[in-house]
Amino acid sequence: MNARIRSLLFKRTYLLFLAPPLLVVTIFLIFPLCILLQYSFRLSVPGQGMKMVFTLSNYMRFFTDAYYLNGLWITLGTGFVVVVITLLFAYPVAYFYAKTRLKHRGFLLVMLLSPFYTNIIIKIFGWMVLLGRQGIVNKLLVSFQLLDRPFEFLYSYIGVIIIMVYIHIPMMTLLLIGSIQNIRDSLIESARICGSRNFGVFRDIILPLSIPGILSGSIIVYTSVIAAFIIPLMVGGDWGKKFISVMMYTHMNVTQNWSFASAIAVILIITSLTMIVTSSKIIKSMKLGVLISEKFVR
């Protein structure tokens, strides 16, 4: 290889390629995040703007006020509930896609991706129609006499959970498919030959081997749920106001307390980063090395 080529391919030409995208991301994302962090240590005075002092009062306020702490626990707890339910729904779907020899797998994928890529507002709207007071779910429940009068699913906690689970099923399924596909069929066959029955195969082979996928899928869904914003805002009612992302939005747009909103944003970032870092450490320590960034679909 002559010198010219080597210089073209291996020297510092990468800086030329890297400069424009890095510049854009630095100016419009990293710099704003620095401002956000900086603001979280300032004091917003209503009507007077930002006081340029260094204070921890925003964080103190969050961690001493029962209202905000309660909101934090509700958000984190909801994440857990949604992940568990979503996993129960998504696992069989992922397993079926990954391990069944089907003629029309492309069709199944389209079936999975259509709700995934449908706009979130449309999906929420669909559930508003279904779960409303006059909605089909209430009509069915009343006509089967499971309820004596319509239940207000919307603007209740149950409604938020249903919609969040619904939104995250396709995502979780797509994340699980890869790890289930990686389980070699020969392992399953050996277990069968050694006399293991179906449930045994599932419990001893398939489930343990899909744990990395389950973990990384769960953590991605979890971080998505705790940062969820549109669902609690639109159909959460009073419950929705307790989600930290909605609290942040309120302080940003309604009370205009930017420094407090920034502090909540920082807390949100730290929470999800901690989740991601710990889980990827756990996954790596299992020597199964599935990087979250690699597994993430959307």
Binding site: T13, F17, S114, N119, I121, I136, N198, Y249, M252, S272
Partner: protein
Amino acid sequence: MKSSSGRSLLVASNVIVYAFLFLPLIIVVGISFSPSYQMGFPPAGLSLRWFKYIFDRTEFTDAFYVSVIVALFAAFFALIMGVLCSLALVRYKFRGKTIVENIFMMPIILPTVVTGVAMLQFFSIMGFYNFWIRLILGHIIITIPYTIRSISANLYGLSMSYEEASLVMGANYMQTFKNVLMPLIKPGIIAGALLAFIISFDNVTVSLFLIGAKTVTLPVRIMLYLDWQFDPSVAAISTILISLTVVGIIIAERIVGLANIMKVE
């Protein structure tokens, strides 16, 4: 699962979940043909009045144009950034590569709502009030990771000997890029562009913070409309969007093979 009971349990659970996934979409499509204000399902009759209604009201068509324009610009610029970035990250070894990679993946890892707030604060401090550019910049930032990912995946699978051969033959880098590299990474570029367009078009969270009065995107417009009214017009728009989504996915499946983009195969 070989036993028939285990297998039928699996099939049954799949049928239930797929039904659950499609239930709200079917309902929405159903009521979009409602002849009245009734949101009941099945609708009392069939009519296209709500489709006529949304095309008569400029607020929805305008919002649709805004969304398309923003998504086109965002996808275009994110694509350029994605190509540049992938070339650097895949074809070169340098110090701090992992850090750079993580920086570009940040918009995925960060809660979207935080990205929105941070950018809103930034633009306000800078006194930057061109809402079109604000919105497009926001969307470029959130779509860059997706273009990088699909183009990088493509580049990784590509032997470097193609570029080397072209350079040995005396082509300069631009010629090599145009005549050799571009055709070879076309699938990645198409997939990335498609993904970026969809992500931008669907985005609500970041848009909500960055829109101005004249740059309300379609999803945000629908959301604001639902604050005040609840009628089948939203179902009519949704039906159009759902059909576009499904058609888009089927086309993508035919052209590039979705399993590749989604990395599930």
